[in-house]
Symmetry: C2
Subunit: 293 residues, 2 copies
């Protein structure tokens, strides 16, 4: 497919969302294109949030932000070598180009899964786009290492951990949220190699193996805080096999874009905060290969 076709397809998804014609999740939509988490904050929190991302690049990979305060139709890129227009072409409408939004007032959820945030957007809003792991999942599939949850049509399991975020201003006391994909022990190094090149979408795993649960402070893999419980390679629960068995399942943990959302919720912010609804991401014009290192 030509670049123009790809750009059209991402634009088409956004226009369909803008018109209220696409209102469901975006997994598998516009394959090859980056998707992003959206967080919109009152401008007085923008500097602290930008620094929170810079101090925690793995769980909070900042891709772009509003070109100026209040701007919803143009972004500036945080990725060297890629312009804001290449990431998300000018004329976007961050108030409408995502299928579903969440709205919080003074840290309380006031609207869930609404189709636009035109009424909530003010001249004081600053939008931030954060990387999402859909990108490297496509590359895994191409290498014959499809994440099991996607093969089974499930959501990736996500867990709160005790690993502290480096705080920034009002954003204190946060911890990493991690996603988990089980792989056979023999495949872990290949999986690390594939994801290493996706630095702006969480990059390589943070930890792996059964001992990782103790290090990360995760008690029960079958009880994720978000998403679906993991499934073993033979069905049923994920089971700890023999240490020496290269074919046994081991859990592999990545940084997760839910982390910055959790940090924002925890900060008790005053005013209006807007986010995408879980799984309903912003489809960007940039392609996965544009961000590979």
């Amino acid at each position: 497919m030509s670049v123009e076709t790809h750009r059209a397809s991402s634009l088409e998804v956004r226009l369909a969302a803008r018109r209220g014609q696409h209102t469901t999740h975006t997994a598998g939509i516009a394959p090859g294109h980056l998707q992003a988490n959206l967080i919109v904050l009152p401008s007085r929190y923008a500097a602290d949030f930008r620094q929170l991302c810079g101090r925690n690049t793995v769980p909070c990979p900042l891709i772009a932000e509003s070109a100026i305060t209040g701007c919803y139709d143009e972004v500036v890129s945080c990725i060297p070598g890629l312009s804001g227009d290449e990431l998300l072409r000018k004329g976007c409408d961050l108030r409408r180009d995502i299928p579903r939004f969440m709205v919080y007032e003074d840290s309380q959820l006031t609207k869930s899964h609404c189709e636009d945030v035109v009424d909530e957007w003010t001249q004081d809003c600053v939008a931030f786009l954060i990387g999402c792991s859909y990108s490297f999942e496509a590359e895994h599939a191409a290498a014959g290492l499809s994440p099991r949850h996607s093969v089974l049509g499930k959501m990736v399991p996500m867990y709160r951990t005790r690993v502290p975020l480096c705080p920034s201003g009002v954003f204190t006391g946060g911890t990493y949220v991690m996603s988990m994909r089980p792989y056979r022990r023999r495949d872990v190094e290949r999986v690390r190699d594939i994801t290493r090149r996706y630095g702006v979408t969480h990059g390589e795993p943070i930890d792996w193996g059964w001992d990782a649960m103790e290090r990360l402070g995760i008690k029960d893999l079958q009880q994720p805080d978000w998403g679906d419980a993991p499934v073993g390679q033979y069905g049923g629960r994920l089971v700890r096999g023999d240490e020496g068995d290269e074919d046994a399942d081991v859990p592999v943990f990545w940084g997760c874009g839910v982390t910055p959302q959790e940090a924002v919720m925890k900060a008790g912010l005053q005013g209006t905060v807007i986010a995408h609804a879980p799984g309903h991401m912003l489809v960007l014009d940039a392609r996965d290969e544009d961000i590979k290192s």
Copy 2:
């Protein structure tokens, strides 16, 4: 003092080290100038190390690296808006411009506190300069918040923690090393504000308060892994005061430049690794205010 005087004074320190005339530590030397940690690696490890820094910006703030592999007399800057020549003027000699060096062969220490590494430097060496917290300590002093260890002429205490580094390639299993400076509870927010502006020298604290020890996995503050034991405001050991007492000492923890050195030592690298000797830093031409955000 003019910029040129400052540049001369940093150059003078480096030339004195180069000639073997300055062979002691660099604390308080060329005040106002940035100082940096040095790590020199075989080129095959450079990409993994660069990414380790990018994934762990708080404990491993990468300032600059060799302009090309094998280059010891010119660096490229990693700080936006500051050129390599502004950081460290061309014609430097990273093999000799530090008072004392450490040399490791196949991960074993083979030379301690040697005055140069001319014989060890090869065309395969890549040098990395990492930020150091001397900068923000000067700003604390200016605000009447001098770190106690520096007033007492002691070394800052440093601790291994259980907080995992995000791994990168060969660099796995590392954890944060943190430095600790005690402050009165009422001063913690001012201390946070001051250090927040020094993002390339570890920035604001990672954690603070007596409960932080449990979160970070530090058992005994009086037994640091490096540096001197901390001292309470009335002398003697640091004591946990009343929760509500705003004048009581609380420990405040920052990311520490020993972290990347520990990660390198832990990786079991083959070949020659060079580092500065503890406390014997590289004095840069850039000034503290050049890196303030």
